[in-house]
């Protein structure tokens, strides 16, 4: 059976230490969205981050919500779904140093190497969204849109949305403080049955250049 746990978006080291791979988590507190746009602006262009991190929030969501900024400046927020996190590996180390994030939330987790190199030294864990498309459930967990930063500079999809969460979830613990990786564990378990399904199939007659790193390979 799965275990369900409520967690603050500014979690204590003790609370994080108790989390196990596969635990189901619901979040309370402020979280912010940051993906390639925010990383490039904050890290490469060295723009000042417009909120106090990590005291206001230690939860970085790889997301852009389906939302509208109304003419009066208020927000209408619909569904909320994460985007695939592995693409952001090149920025995550520097982002930890700058933001003090303890929770990285997104789609599909990151590599075991990224966990060992960047998450473990920073005492951070990864939470994956479920499905991936529990957008309506997660949208319901957002009590309020507190602010949208850099909307003019980055556009709505890449802007830094600050969301107030109330039992927002579900999320699944995909890495722990020791750097163990849920997806790596599951992939190892599925490998034997996957191998069995390949029995009797044949590799394509024409190979693709680039499937090997050997540039002298006679690819045909």
């Amino acid at each position: 059976m799965v275990r369900k746990i409520r967690l603050s978006t500014t979690p204590t080291p003790q609370a994080l230490a108790e989390l196990k791979l596969g635990d189901i988590v619901y979040l309370d507190g402020l979280m912010y969205t940051a993906r390639e746009g925010v990383y490039m602006r904050a890290l490469e262009e060295q723009a000042n981050i417009p909120m106090e991190l990590p005291s206001e929030s230690a939860a970085n969501f790889h997301c852009s919500p389906a939302a509208t900024i109304n003419p009066d400046g208020s927000f209408t927020l619909g569904a909320v779904t994460a985007t695939a996190s592995f693409r952001f590996a090149k920025w995550i180390g520097e982002w930890f140093a700058k933001s003090g994030a303890k929770l990285v939330i997104g789609k599909g987790g990151m590599s075991p190497e990224t966990y060992r190199e960047h998450f473990v030294p920073n005492g951070a864990i990864y939470l994956t969204t479920v499905g991936y498309g529990t957008g309506a459930l997660l949208g319901r967990g957002v009590e309020n849109v507190e602010a949208v930063h850099w909307a003019d500079e980055l556009g709505m999809a890449q802007a830094m949305w600050v969301l107030k969460c109330n039992q927002m979830g579900p999320f699944i613990v995909a890495s722990d403080l020791a750097g163990n990786c849920l997806f790596e564990r599951e992939n190892k378990k599925t490998a034997p049955s996957l191998s069995a399904a390949y029995q009797g199939t044949r590799p394509a007659t024409m190979k693709r250049y680039g499937e090997t790193d050997d540039r002298t390979d006679e690819v045909i």
Partner: protein, 318 residues
């Protein structure tokens, strides 16, 4: 004459329905799959998805925050005339896409590939895609919108007759595993396979097989129908479920479409529609009637015809 205002308002309603309401055929298929699933985490994910569909309808909130790439398939009966012609029709569909982006709301996903310009309305160069088909008879136009994810779950490979069914199976498994790991394909999904055509039409066939056929529908060629069932079963036997967790819910259904190809080749494409399977359709008639449905009914005998002419039309015209 089909009124242009009716086309636009119907298109806006369709954008809303596609984003919010899970089609019944997919929902029934997923429920049947969920009943069989025994992996702990996989079962949890499927239950969360089922709950998500309910919440979406209750709140009139999109099922998924990632709108994908909204697109249109338009099919016209041979007798249909649209007020203002095809230019007005395209403007109506582009406007409906923009309006719904702010209205539902949907995520403004579409940006320029290089300059990342975002008009915040899912409209831009070539966006939304609008594709056309025609059907004998009928003073009606079918509007079909599909909001398919845009990044993962799709691949193409040039195979040859010598690769055979074993080669097709191999590439199918490669694609399922590549995008199924960590759940990037947002499975369990309807898988569409395109065989033949040329590179571009092979991709089109596979995409349409995934997005424009309903769960349980079978190809009229009995041998292809058999392959569809076999591939569904194979997909569910690789030990992988939703999010790549241990499980057996990978493929809700598999649809295969074929097109005549170069005598030396056997092009193949694989497409995974996602957990939200966002599609909605309506038929708008010249007399002002509008009928909503979830089955695009795209692949009619006429669309799959092999002959030069279409004898049924000749008979009807007499």
């Amino acid at each position: 004459m089909i009124a242009i205002d009716l086309i636009r308002s119907t298109a806006e309603t369709l954008m809303d329905k596609a984003a919010i309401e899970i089609p019944d055929d997919y929902l029934d298929g997923l429920k049947a799959t969920a009943a069989e699933e025994d992996g702990d985490l996989s079962s949890f994910v499927l239950q969360a998805m089922l709950e998500n569909y309910e919440v979406a309808k209750e709140d009139r909130r999109a099922m998924c925050g990632d709108t994908g790439c909204p697109r249109w398939f338009v099919k016209m009966g041979n007798e249909a005339r649209v007020e203002g012609g095809p230019i007005a029709l395209e403007e109506a569909l582009r406007r409906a896409t923009a309006e719904a982006t702010n209205g539902v709301p949907l995520r403004p996903n579409r940006v320029h590939p290089l300059w990342r310009t975002d008009h915040n309305n899912n409209v831009g160069i070539g966006a939304p895609e609008i594709e056309y088909g025609f059907e004998p008879g009928g003073d009606w136009i079918d509007l079909i919108t599909v909001h398919k994810g845009g990044l993962f779950g799709t691949d193409y490979r040039m195979l040859f007759p010598s690769d055979g069914i074993e080669g097709i199976k191999r590439f199918y498994l490669d694609s399922l595993a590549a995008f199924g790991k960590r759940g990037l394909a947002c499975q369990p999904a309807i898988i569409g396979i395109g065989l033949g055509g040329s590179k571009d039409t092979c991709m089109v066939l596979g995409k349409r097989a995934a997005c424009l056929r309903t769960v349980g529908d079978r190809n009229p060629d009995p041998k292809i129908a058999e392959l569809e069932l076999e591939f569904t079963e194979i997909g569910n036997s690789i030990g992988m479920g939703p999010m790549g967790f241990v499980g057996k819910s990978m493929v809700i259904d598999c649809h295969i479409e074929v097109g005549y190809c170069h005598t030396g080749g056997m092009q193949m494409s694989v497409h995974a529609f996602c957990l939200s399977s966002r599609r909605a359709c309506a038929r708008v008639w010249g007399d002002g009637r509008v009928e909503y449905r979830t089955d695009p009914d795209w692949f009619t005998p006429y669309q799959r015809r092999e002959t030069v002419d279409w004898p049924e039309t000749a008979v009807a015209a007499e």
